[in-house]
């Protein structure tokens, strides 16, 4: 789950991390008031959107007087950045940047640990730095049972600075950021850039945090900051029903038990010349209620021309699955053709139950997919 820069900065401030003075504004008038309260001539106006690249899109502007500020705030508010409409800007004191650095904590799958990543190449796209000059990124694996002791924070800080005063300042930042990361179950806590000002202070002038969805149950305040897109609202609704759903825009709706098999199913559709409408994992078992809910989701998508149900009967045997499907479809009214592929334990019994119904029954994933693709093409004709 993502939060906005201004929300991340509020968290930073709570943990004693130095951030630039700023205020979030929802209107041009608010922005002007904020400008006057900040009591500084030069401010920066930044779009608050849940996507990267706002700078390139014109969502970040410097203003040196009220007129300019009005202009920029007006231009940015309402702007569309990669499909996100800007409804808030952050108006912040523009600091005198001497040098820019990069610092983040991320979850590292390889070391199965939290990783501190730092670089002297701040203010740029860190993936680009990692690609072009990986030696400029320093990584520190954090032992969760000790966290970031002073010596480790110092070791990292010495990679950025020689001056012991700056080393101590930035080491404290690394420790506080780690505490925030752990206490909030973050999956990313990034400062880019972390700035050395001409006055010799170190300030986080941007802040990015994302959080582990699996841990949100213990962070209700953070969970409350969630602002799902229309797309994500659908996904969340599916989740509330026990599904995993992602819209893909194609014509063949899929309903599969298991995430891996669901991914394989959408890949197969493409392989056989079709376009998957979605990823949909309905989870381990497939009782009638679940199937009904899942079908509602698929049929809500106007693009869907054919539905492909791919079920592997494991603990729940295929004959039970077939009974469940038949029961579910008693309650579902649709003209859309349904292809069902059932494999696994008692598959023959299961398929036999479905033969002679309005379902198109297939034995293998290949056959089922071919059938679904051909049904779409027939519809087009």
């Amino acid at each position: 789950m993502k939060v906005h820069e201004y929300q991340a900065k509020e968290m930073f401030a709570t943990y004693g991390l130095p951030v630039d003075k700023s205020e979030v504004c929802r209107s041009v008038d608010d922005a002007v008031k904020a400008y006057n309260r900040l009591d500084t001539s030069k401010v920066i106006v930044k779009a608050q959107v849940h996507t990267g690249g706002r700078g390139k899109a014109g969502g970040v502007k410097l203003a040196t007087d009220e007129v300019e500020l009005r202009q920029h705030a007006a231009a940015i508010l309402g702007m569309d950045i990669k499909g996100f409409t800007v409804d808030r800007v952050l108006v912040g004191e523009a600091v005198n940047i001497d040098k820019e650095y990069y610092a983040s904590y991320v979850i590292d799958r390889k070391s199965k640990s939290t990783l501190l990543m730092i670089s002297k190449e701040g203010g740029m796209d860190i993936e680009e730095v990692a690609r072009v000059s990986p030696e400029k990124i320093h990584k520190f694996v954090i032992d969760p049972s000790v966290g970031v002791p002073d010596y480790l924070a110092r070791e990292a800080a010495f990679k950025l600075f020689d001056d012991i005063k700056l080393v101590r300042q930035v080491a404290a930042i690394f420790q506080k950021l780690y505490t925030l990361f752990v206490n909030s179950d973050a999956s990313l806590a990034e400062i880019n850039p972390l700035v050395l000002t001409k006055e010799g202070n170190i300030v986080a002038i941007d802040a990015k945090m994302t959080f582990d969805d699996n841990a949100l149950y213990r962070h209700t305040k953070i969970a409350a900051l969630n602002e799902p897109t229309e797309e994500e609202k659908k996904e969340l609704y599916a989740k509330s029903k026990g599904f995993s759903y992602v819209n893909l825009g194609g014509e063949i709706g899929c309903m599969v038990n298991g995430a891996g098999l669901a991914m394989a199913t959408m890949d197969m559709i493409k392989l056989y010349g079709g376009d998957p409408a979605n990823f949909l994992d309905i989870g381990g078992s497939s009782n009638p209620t679940k199937v009904i809910e899942a079908m509602k989701l698929l049929l809500n998508d106007e693009n869907v021309k054919v539905v492909l149900i791919n079920i592997f009967g494991g603990i729940t045997r295929c004959d039970d699955v077939a009974h469940g499907l038949l029961k579910a479809f008693e309650q579902i009214k649709t003209d859309i053709p349904i292809v069902i592929r059932l494999t696994g334990t008692n598959e023959k019994e299961g398929r036999a139950l479905l033969e002679g119904t309005h379902f198109h029954v297939a034995e293998t994933m290949g056959q089922a997919t071919q059938k679904a693709v051909s049904l779409v093409n027939n519809n087009h004709d």
Partner: protein, 288 residues
């Protein structure tokens, strides 16, 4: 032989008094797994399907000499359960639970390693050494004893592959679902090494998916260290970036972790990649 579990596996089921724990404890027991006990704080002294229940893993290990534990407790308690198992001397901890916070897994896995034990999962179907021992929730009927080791990040997709293997007459030495989370315990490299060293394993099926770069590292490892034939399937070629595909770990972030990269890595390492799960048996047969 086999890897990780066999006839000597003495299993306890943590959370045995829960719905899933109880159900699968019986399933495992009836498959022949030596399910020697279960735990449920406050229910010590009772029994589930003839399996004695203990208040703590320590009590269970003392009474039963268990060496393996499978966890069915709800996600908020999974970290504690994993650590309890390792602290009580359990050497292989399998966590089935889905939705465990990543930092909990990191902490538990570090602790388990420190205790000289190993973790499988969480968010995994467990593992099976066919006709010897089942630890987890896999449907036993599709498995057959044989020479192919199976490693997978998925559940039903593994069953799909195993089903096809068995249908083609290819049995399995051990099949392991490592779990679909970004951070899990034993992974490709450790398991590839175990299979390479297992005399009863003659080939390996590896089922990967989008997210992370474990497949890329596995490809390198295979090239350098694995002499037995390996066939691969990678799920998620059609997955859009930034979207989590069911598994918490199945997500393309910042343009990395794509299926295309993974497939390319295996092909560069000389490992054949199936374009459908059902092609795995064919690829293995061709290489033997």
């Amino acid at each position: 032989m086999s890897i990780l579990i066999d006839n000597n596996t003495r299993l306890i089921v943590q959370g045995i008094t829960g719905r899933d724990g109880g159900f699968h404890a019986s399933k495992m027991k009836s498959y022949g797994t030596k399910v020697v006990g279960g735990t449920s704080p406050g229910k010590g002294g009772s029994a589930i399907d003839g399996i004695p229940v203990f208040n703590t893993v320590k009590d269970a290990v003392e009474a039963t000499e268990a060496n393996t534990s499978v966890i069915f407790v709800p996600a908020p308690f999974a970290k504690d359960a994993m650590m309890e198992a390792a602290d009580a001397g359990i050497k292989l901890v399998i966590c089935i639970t889905e939705g465990v916070p990543t930092l909990d897994v990191i902490e538990a896995n570090h602790f388990i390693k420190r205790k000289g034990a190993n973790l499988i999962g969480p968010n995994c179907p467990g593992l099976i050494t066919p006709e010897q021992s089942l630890v987890g929730i896999m449907p036993t009927m599709i498995f057959k004893h044989g020479g192919t080791g199976v490693i997978s990040r998925s559940g039903t997709l593994t069953y799909e592959v195993v089903y096809n293997l068995t249908k083609s007459g290819i049995g399995q030495s051990t099949a392991i679902g490592v779990g679909g989370d970004p951070v899990v315990g034993l992974y490709y490299q450790e398991l590839l090494e175990m299979f390479e060293n297992d005399p009863d394993t003659d080939s390996i099926a590896l089922i990967g998916e989008i997210g992370g770069d474990a497949e890329e590292r596995a490809a390198e490892y295979i090239k350098a260290h694995v002499t037995k034939p390996v066939a691969v399937f990678i799920a998620g070629q059609q997955a859009p970036p930034g979207k989590q595909m069911g598994h918490a770990g199945a997500i393309i972030s910042s343009g990395s972790g794509t299926a295309a990269e993974k497939i390319a890595a295996f092909e560069a390492a000389g490992v054949p990649v199936a374009n459908e799960p059902s092609k795995i048996p064919e690829l293995l047969k061709n290489r033997r």
